[in-house]
């Protein structure tokens, strides 16, 4: 899975020291909440699109709300996601058409 962040897979922070495998890729996370958030994000995208895996993820925003683009082959899925303080999904919806990722 290709990511736009070099730090923590979901928030880009370089604090912390957590490495976990998600979907066959070993990823770096700054803390356990970020790792939980990321797993939920991947699950939701796969459930929504029916894809077996995600090739690349582009993430913007912060814990209060993120705008993302997931790609698989030549297909693209744009969505918004927000979490509660336990890292559970509080809101997940496809981005309105025309909104740049």
């Amino acid at each position: 899975m290709k990511l736009n962040y070099r730090g923590c897979a979901i928030c880009d922070s370089t604090w912390g020291d957590l490495r976990e495998e998600v979907d066959g890729t070993r990823l770096f996370f700054c803390c356990s909440i970020c790792a939980i958030q990321f797993r939920h994000l991947v699950e939701r995208v796969k459930a929504r699109t029916g894809w077996d895996r995600i090739d690349a993820l582009e993430i913007a925003g912060d814990r209060r709300g993120r705008a993302c683009v997931a790609t698989r082959g030549d297909r693209e899925f744009r969505f918004e996601i927000a979490f509660n303080s336990d890292g559970e999904v509080r809101r997940f919806r496809p981005a309105p058409a025309g909104v740049p990722g």
Partner: protein
């Protein structure tokens, strides 16, 4: 002594070196509260201990400002900045769900609120502080003025006006984030010094303060126009109006007391740290209100 703003651990006061080392150690263990505090307040990239000490000094430095101003500024930055907190955005023109989320979680918050006030009263020997907390207790739960209705009662009536019975409201347990925040506020009230407990508690009253826009907040807690017209129920207007019209002096009085007694006991840095912990708890708690509200909108 200083305190860690992420876990309240007391640390020896030798500048900010012990705090920097502690933060680096706990962040190195990927502890969410410590990583979050560093990410949101100092830097999203790992920095070395020396640089961290420098940034902590700057962050805690009051400069020419009073402790009360410092607290107000941090509060505004967290909840009323360029992008206000999501709950504040939702409350501008609230849906039924947002208001119900408010009721169902806030009943638990208010019950802890009076418990914390009582702890402060029990632990202080300052008559002014006792009087201040007594007034809080009366406004929240009692009936200081026979014609007035306690804040807690107004909250329950708002819930009833939105179609949820009192019995149902009272039987709804808090969401996990609310439960966790309340447990931590209780720990602050019982384990830290009473001046710190006051800061953790009464600084949160700034959320509804009408003057914050003049001090740099981008929006009010809610759009004051909802107090007119009938976009929300009369009981909701009564509940929100009470906070909105609360005596501005009451809010600044707490900051004045905190400032004075923190200086007198040499606890300004502990007060800052405990206040910062409370800010993060309040952030999570406001998200829990939204989350509860979303259950009514699905």
């Amino acid at each position: 002594m200083v305190r860690c703003p992420a876990c309240l651990l007391p640390l020896p006061k030798r500048g900010f070196q012990p705090l920097a080392e502690h933060l680096i150690a706990r962040a190195g263990e990927s502890d969410p509260d410590h990583v979050r505090w560093l990410n949101q307040n100092l830097s999203r990239s790992r920095i070395a201990s020396e640089e961290l000490v420098r940034r902590l000094e700057q962050y805690f430095d009051l400069g020419e400002r009073s402790l009360g101003d410092w607290i107000t500024r941090r509060f505004i930055a967290k909840f009323f900045g360029e992008v206000p907190h999501p709950f504040v955005l939702a409350l501008q023109h609230p849906s039924r769900g947002t208001l119900l989320g408010y009721v169902l979680e806030h009943q638990h918050f208010l019950r802890q609120w009076v418990r914390s006030c009582a702890y402060i009263m029990a632990r202080t020997d300052e008559p002014e502080v006792v009087r201040y907390e007594l007034e809080n207790l009366l406004v929240e739960f009692g009936t200081k003025d026979p014609a007035a209705t306690a804040h807690y009662e107004l909250l329950l009536r708002m819930g009833e006006s939105l179609g949820v019975s009192r019995a149902e409201i009272l039987a709804t347990p808090p969401l996990p984030a609310t439960r966790r925040a309340i447990a931590e506020w209780n720990r602050i009230a019982t384990e830290t010094d009473w001046v710190e407990a006051m800061a953790a508690l009464h600084a949160l009253e700034l959320i509804a303060h009408r003057d914050l826009v003049r001090e740099g907040a981008t929006v009010h807690y809610f759009d004051p126009s909802i107090l007119e017209g009938d976009t929300i129920t009369p009981a909701s207007r009564a509940f929100l109006r009470e906070g909105y019209e609360a005596d501005l002096e009451h809010a600044s009085e707490a900051l004045g007391l905190i400032e004075r007694f923190a200086r007198a006991s040499g606890r300004e840095e502990e007060v800052q740290a405990t206040f910062l912990r409370s800010l993060d708890l309040f952030d999570d708690y406001l998200i829990a209100r939204l989350e509860r509200g979303e259950q009514f909108e699905a």
